[in-house]
């Protein structure tokens, strides 16, 4: 097995959740950036914090990682209170901030060495670990090059590698894939899954619904500093309405006949003439097979018949009345 975190140091074990946020509030002058945010992340699981730009994700992460002092409320990481024992929190977690914060005038290897030394690891352990991390993140060749010459994706990978130097129990990732191309993104997801399978607890913020859907065990949807929904991806999708049955008719002249037939079996039918599509609410697969049989016994020729579950995008639209996905020009290029 590929065990990225297998070199986890023998460190104090702890009981209880890996991360707990308790009524976190952060005010900047008259702006309430984070407004009474609470959640719990069990050990070994992944929490996705989903929200649009300016929702308060970064501010929440900064409070949980001791970088910013909550106006009120508190948080615990690996059992340590961020206010009472920030030092212990820093020992048990790793953080990859929103902008890649590697030193661009050092080489990749030197960046890892820098952080390793600041964690107090032995010189030998750092050297061995650096080799492993560089290899794991396909940076072996670039390891002795100055980071200034790295691409955005390489910087992100190095940034993550650097956060893993001390094999932390809990990892905070603030928009780890924003600005990455789809390939780099799925590569990074791969590494994150591997970390999780080794028992690392992950909190990641994202603006991408797909990312939350792919990686997170539970999702907290945050908007204007408030938690507006929480649950598994499936639960959230269920909240925003049931699935729909979508029937696509082959010939436009059969659309009306198909509508009449469908209407006899379901409560409500929506017609999209241009797409030759009929949509009806459905409970699940049994509804679909029942309707399939109805059409099977008719003259009507179908292109497609399927069950459409709501996407997280629908969920967000349902919750806030807005779309969550960032517009192309919102995407910041990591430096």
């Amino acid at each position: 097995m590929t065990l990225l975190a297998s070199a986890r140091p023998v460190r104090e074990r702890f009981v209880g959740p890996a991360i707990e946020a308790e009524h976190l509030v952060k005010r900047f002058d008259d702006l309430t950036a984070v407004d009474d945010v609470s959640f719990t992340v069990p050990q070994g699981s992944v929490l996705g914090m989903l929200g649009p730009n300016g929702a308060g994700k970064t501010t929440t992460v900064r409070m949980m990682t001791t970088l910013s002092r909550p106006t009120s409320g508190t948080a615990r990481v690996a059992g340590h209170d961020v206010l009472a024992d920030p030092e212990a929190v820093r020992r048990s977690m790793g953080l990859t901030g929103q902008a890649a914060t590697v030193d661009e005038f050092l080489t990749g290897r030197e960046n890892i060495r820098l952080m390793g030394a600041l964690y107090g690891l032995s010189r030998r352990a750092i050297a061995a670990r650096a080799d492993q991390l560089l290899e794991r993140f396909t940076l072996t060749e670039a390891g002795d090059k100055v980071v200034k010459d790295y691409s955005g994706g390489m910087r992100r990978r190095l940034d993550l590698a650097v956060s893993l130097i001390a094999a932390p129990h809990v990892l905070f990732l603030d928009e780890p894939t924003t600005g990455l191309d789809p390939r780099s993104r799925s590569e990074l997801w791969e590494v994150l899954r591997e970390l999780v399978s080794d028992g690392t607890t992950l909190l990641l913020t994202t603006q991408y619904l797909e990312e939350a859907d792919q990686l997170a065990d539970r999702i907290v949807v945050i908007d204007h500093g408030r938690v507006i929904a929480e649950g598994t991806a499936l639960e959230l999708k269920d909240q925003s309405g049931k699935a729909a049955l979508v029937v696509t008719v082959s010939h436009a002249d059969q659309l009306e006949a198909a509508r009449a037939l469908l209407a006899a079996h379901v409560a409500e039918v929506h017609v999209d003439i241009a797409a030759r599509q009929l949509t009806a609410p459905a409970e699940g697969l049994t509804d679909m097979t029942r309707i399939a049989r109805v059409f099977d016994g008719s003259e009507i020729v179908l292109d497609d018949l399927g069950l459409k579950r709501p996407t997280l995008d629908d969920v967000f639209l349902h919750l806030t009345g807005r779309r969550a996905e960032p517009q192309a020009d919102d995407i910041e290029e990591p430096r």
Binding site: P9, R91, T101, L114, A117, L121, A128, E135, V191
Partner: protein, 280 residues
């Protein structure tokens, strides 16, 4: 990505033992010195720039500036050294704002280390940076005719005072680096404030011929005390004339007083400004 098994043999040695403050500072300094090695042009401010000043003043204006000592070039050199050391504050401030802006300081703050190590590391590196300049200046000086004419003890005392003054300047740098938002702003402030201050002194021309009001300011300028102390200790100029202000008659004492005074006043402000800048 490749598939690698992370070696479990390192498990024991990965134990986090928060490093001693010394190791933290050593690591920070290592990083900053790497920067200088990667970008030797960073040293221009303590090498090319002062050499340029030496050439400009010694050879271009030198003929028209009269000093009591025999050679203007010899008289000039301690002035250039003091100016170079004063610019330590710019080195510290630039490094600090750059790290703050790039989120590097936040990264350090998320580690189990002392927040002070960032500042101490910066300070030590900047003193090393300036010291490289002092060595370059001294060599340049020896080439153009500057000599140490006093004893060894006095000569070392002069270098010690120079470093002490550099230490005081570091706090100026931390205050400005924490208050100003960008390297450009730091550069602007340094050029419009610190640069003229290094001229409003006895660095490049004797104060005797200045307007009376300016002369008082120049002679009470801490930089003048330092320059006068170095000139006296190195034997590069006779003692100040009877009409000179009090500090120039006690330059060694006053350099110490100024350096300690600036440190005592600015250090708490600097730490407060830095903490405030890094709290949210």
């Amino acid at each position: 990505m490749t598939t690698t098994t992370l070696d479990t043999a390192t498990t024991e040695s990965l134990t986090i033992t928060p490093p001693s403050l010394r190791r933290q500072v050593r690591t920070m300094v290592w990083r900053n010195l790497k920067h200088i090695r990667r970008m030797p042009e960073m040293l221009a401010d303590v090498t090319i720039q002062p050499i340029m000043f030496v050439v400009l003043f010694a050879y271009v204006f030198g003929g028209s500036i009269s000093t009591d000592s025999t050679s203007y070039r010899e008289w000039l050199l301690p002035g250039i050294m003091a100016q170079t050391m004063t610019f330590s504050c710019a080195i510290v401030a630039l490094g600090l704002t750059a790290d703050l802006n790039k989120g590097i300081v936040d990264r350090f703050r998320s580690l189990p280390i002392s927040r002070a190590s960032v500042l101490i590391g910066r300070s030590v590196s900047s003193l090393i940076h300036s010291s490289i300049g002092v060595v370059v200046m001294a060599v340049t000086g020896l080439v153009i005719g500057w000599r140490i004419r006093g004893g060894v003890g006095e000569a070392l005392l002069a270098f010690g005072l120079l470093l002490l003054f550099g230490f005081a300047m570091i706090w100026v740098g931390i205050v400005s680096g924490s208050l100003l938002k960008s390297p450009e702003a730091v550069q602007g402030v340094m050029f419009t404030v610190i640069f003229p201050v290094t001229f409003l002194a006895n660095t490049f021309a004797p104060t005797e011929h200045m307007l009376p009001a300016l002369r008082v300011i120049a002679e009470w300028n801490p930089i003048s005390s330092l320059v006068q102390a170095m000139r006296t200790l190195w034997g590069n100029s006779p003692p100040a004339g009877p009409e000179a202000a009090w500090p120039l008659h006690h330059p060694v004492l006053m350099t110490v007083v100024w350096s300690v005074g600036i440190t005592v006043v600015l250090a708490p402000l600097a730490v407060r400004a830095f903490n405030r800048r890094t709290t949210d």
